[in-house]
Symmetry: D2
Subunit: 385 residues, 4 copies
């Protein structure tokens, strides 16, 4: 395999990705593994660099939602074996720093050469690591990072959501402290919001509302068992208040992020946070997994340009709300979510809308970026026949 090239989705610049030959990933450290990718998903956050909203180096390979078969391991790998089918968490973590020890692989203190906590594959600010929208992927600290899966190809489209969207949705419900019998409002019916709804079911919520204004996604929310709230039809806070006898919900999940926009497409960076503060009852909790940025030159308000989001914090305090935020530490959840899939208690693949080969990636990016109707989740199969 040495000295060869592999095909990969390469970032060229805003609105331009290409499938090109790149140097093949190989074992660089004794604890590395190389994975032959069977499925790599396009994530909504891949659109941030794609749209030029955040800087990204041209030439980088994209893709942080990866799974596949172990192709090669370094001599320091003793748990994972060649031939194992594995899921690769989007967080790349060392497994031995203080944060990894505490379960916060999302804030690994060693993997990112920049010194910032948290590293990942093929993503801006997350270190120099290539992504997995490619035939092969190098995974450092393989024994720690890789989640083993049953051999074969059963549940492939479910398992592929274990690298990011399912645990991230689940993390939203964890931060929101969803427990049996509680009510939940989720803003955003993208993959993360929909799988947060599925996670709320798993955790025993008595009722889950999902707010969006795209009908195809709201239909998926209903199929998952949630109550769809179409924000195009009126004020979602009012609709949820009406449905809860004016009490509001116990838990809120933010699955939209800083590019929140109203039904007309106008951005309002604090809109979703304000709605959550309004709709979550006093003493309730909000989990924020939609991304907010420390700075965002393209933002629609001056304060948001510098990462200041002027939401109703005074009301949040008066209600005694708690807010949990940040990227999901995938390893904390992926094993348990895998077992729910295997034992048929959860079927996250319900959100998958498209499956294509690597060559179709540029077109898939373009159409997903336009949020064409039905483009909920696109899977790439780089090594498919």
């Amino acid at each position: 395999m040495k000295g060869m090239f592999v095909k990969a989705v390469v970032f060229k610049g805003p609105f331009e990705v290409a499938v090109e030959q790149v140097d093949d990933p190989r074992i660089e450290q004794p604890t590395d593994a190389v994975i032959r990718i069977t499925t790599a998903n396009i994530c909504g956050s891949d659109l941030h660099p794609y749209e030029g909203r955040v800087d990204f180096d041209a030439g980088m390979v994209l893709g942080h939602e990866n799974m596949g078969i172990v192709e090669e391991i370094g001599p320091g790998v003793d748990r994972i074996h060649v031939g194992d089918r594995v899921s690769v968490p989007f967080n790349l973590a060392c497994g031995s720093c203080r944060n990894c020890n505490d379960g916060w692989t999302s804030a690994c203190l060693r993997a990112n050469p920049s010194g910032q906590p948290g590293a990942g594959f093929g993503y801006p600010m997350m270190g120099p690591y290539w992504g997995g929208q490619a035939e092969l992927l190098r995974v450092p600290w393989a024994d720690f990072n890789l989640l083993e899966l049953p051999a074969g190809n059963q549940w492939e489209n479910d398992f592929t959501l274990l690298s990011d969207a399912f645990p991230t949705g689940y993390h939203g419900t964890e931060l929101a402290k969803v427990t049996p019998g509680k009510t939940v409002a989720i803003f955003g019916a993208g993959p993360v919001g929909l799988l947060a709804a599925m996670s709320a079911n798993v955790r025993g919520a008595s009722q889950t509302f999902v707010v969006d204004h795209q009908l195809d996604r709201l239909a998926l929310a209903e199929r998952i068992g949630a109550t769809a709230i179409n924000a195009a039809d009126g004020d979602p806070v009012e609709m949820i208040m009406d449905a809860t006898d004016g009490f509001g919900v116990d838990c809120g999940v933010e699955a939209v992020g800083y590019q929140a926009h109203d039904a007309t497409g106008q951005e309002h960076p604090a809109l979703v946070l304000d709605n959550l503060v309004a709709v979550v009852r006093a003493t309730g909790s909000i989990g924020v997994v939609g991304v907010y940025e420390p700075e965002d030159p393209g933002a629609s308000t001056d304060s948001a340009k510098e990462g200041r989001y002027a939401f109703d914090f005074g009301t949040a305090f008066t209600k005694g709300l708690s807010l949990g935020t940040g990227q999901c530490p995938v390893k904390k959840y992926n094993r348990y979510l895998r077992d729910l899939i295997i034992r048929e208690q959860a079927k996250p693949s319900i959100i998958v809308s498209h499956e294509v080969g690597l060559e179709q990636a540029p077109e898939a990016y373009a159409r997903f970026d336009k949020r064409e109707n039905g483009y909920t989740k696109v899977l790439l199969h780089p090594n498919a026949a």
Copy 2:
């Protein structure tokens, strides 16, 4: 006792309180008790109505930090007895609604006739209940609300801090998730901040920083065992970063509130939140017990006027911080804090600076409001000889 009058501290209007005769509090409901006040404290938040920063009805009796001896009980009171020495939590709670059941007496759903969660004594927006800066105080749902204390007058100045400042400081450390070995930064060395520092000790923090720019209060912080950070000497974030090898602290406590001001006296409503987001390490937690208001016409920025505090939320998200907020549910902690006092493990009276009779209340309000040097905590003894 019926048909008599008692002396009380009455709110007349901004910057004006008076000691007057008012109708004596009496049993109105079977579950009421009437308390003869031995000590009632002036709280920093009493200065909000005093300064006219929040509206308050003229004629109301002030005081939500109360303790005393049970004078009379209604026929539905079966746990508390006449003659019992008791502490009265500042939250007034029904004991049987959903929030009270869950331990959130700070958000009782029934005690406040306005329908807003949360009620209290002698305070704006907290219902029609008179305060305890008076000879007598009526306490509804007495069996539930009152905390029994050892007979006599030992530990009076410690126990009097059980009604608000000590549990509120403790709540800050609870929301900040202080556990043994962690490091803590507390902004604000008022009574709540100082007792948050004492609480951090109780919870096993390895190091606690207290930030302020008043030297007398910083000296108290040191006596409590904390590391004083004088914000008049430079950037407190930088000083704490230097003291933690650039790592920051695990936990942050906001004990200042919306009237945060710099060393020159200029208000910056988001200053403390920004500092906390900067100084708390990735994955850390912030407890906000300093008050933020849903609206504040006197605020220094437009967004703060409507309760929007434009702090660095983008950075908070990137670091994966959690924020807990709101008033302290006193009953959740006061029994345990009482036992620490009795068994000499905590001595909160270290912060008490002045003790006066009821007649001196107006002067004490005026001097405390000017934050005269040494005015940390003023106790009123309405029934002292």
Copy 3:
């Protein structure tokens, strides 16, 4: 109503209950309510006094699983109203002692005149309170104890399980630390075991095993979504080990109690605990809601006679297991379980096998005691037309 008599199921002595006229329950304290019973269930633990296995005073009215309509309230009741439909937790609690404050209504320090923690209705050692297998029931501290239900008679057979069996089963899964994705083994397919299985589903277990040797009950377990393990077919530990690749389960629930017996009917008081220690994986947790007694003169071993159950504690230690035990504090869960019923996320009435009028109670006791096939759960409707 005063001065009248009501019909009630009265304990006469071992194996003898009678439906008799007794003095009508009435308001004795200002905080009392009187409930007109719509449904009162017979509980498996009612068979302990019925069989003479524990002492019980002749003349006592039986029944601790009660619901109905509020008939009358005392002057100190301000939350509950006449005409409210309510569930009555089997624990009778004061609402203001330390244990009630901490959510441990199962160990109320004041309600039981014996001084022992914990009181209840119509049950040995739980105080002098009459049970609810009667037309009327007096409920002390009504505002605290009663759970409000939607008006009407919808979900009657579901709601009636909120007083004991459903929350007790749920408590088993709480003590066993069931969280999403975990595997669970429940020993005992009586009402509590079956509703523990339903609770494990609610909490997101990936797989739940239910062990018993009664086929009708195992069939119910399968209908609830669990995997039935018939202990008559072999060693249940081995069967569960085989089904989990030799790993065992994460969580175990003991829903049998000290009268555990093998398929031949022989009592083995430590049998279920031993099986749980064997089948729960290292670091796992066991919730014990099946009853063990401090003394049991009728026990089959000498140590069990004095409440000493010689189970494999050495192995439990080596595996690092945790054990939670004891009666369920119903109020901690019943509100949330009620909401799951209302929003159609849980249907506990699946376990109800028989509904009869009060007059049929003696026969129902006799047949239930013989565990006649199909006698899973008997409901009495004392005021049915």
Copy 4:
């Protein structure tokens, strides 16, 4: 270094250890490190094989409480560097199995070739790994297992207790759910019991009782701030009940184990568990870190011989107690306890009674085994000048 020999304390048979030359530990796997031992402690549990109470292979090197300087690392070690000063947890763990991921390094699923969860150094049943009562020690999975310490030799006698006794005592208080204001009873004033008392202080206990009948150890308990209860003076349960107004304590810690004996020296394997069940209040928690064995041919009762300890489980159930058990997962706590030492909040070296060179180990074993007065904790310094 290759091909040389090192001195080590070798187990020869019951009551016989010798200091001998053994093959030098060296890097065997890429993720190994070799440590030059600065301090290795003798643990009370080393006396189990020493006394022949559990089987142990002759020729094994003893010692599971180790610290030192990194001498050499394998090519897969990237966090720890040669020259680092480190503490070695007694649990030897892979860092990547499910239990390690969940923080249960005490039950690592991969490190013990026997297939049993949990491995360690120089101890029966814990795998083939040599102990550290030697000049050098091989540590597998070094990046994961080793805790970095400040360079130099400050706090050496404190840090050496981070490998076992301090975290194990702390684990007892964690399993017993000690939180601020609670009361605690600790049975056993050996190193683990004493450091459990120190841990209870750190966690904010309002009062801690330590029970033993050795006066030197009780004196240490008092120096740590606990209330000493001399079991030679009467029934410790009664004494603690008297000191708590008959209420009992909130939390209990078992720091004695299966060889519990009364003041006359007679073994009673269930004695301490019975006392804890009696003295811990209803709804309280017991942490069992004293060792119980699955089988113990030398036990004083038939049931204890097969690992069945017939304690008052019926009373435990009636009180609703919880019991946590098992070996401490050291990594969960050692970093935080280290920081308490560095910041002078805890000084565990107070329990150290003797420091000797490696050659004195046989004598130290013999005298420690006789529990000679003053023999609380013996440290070996294998490489001391």
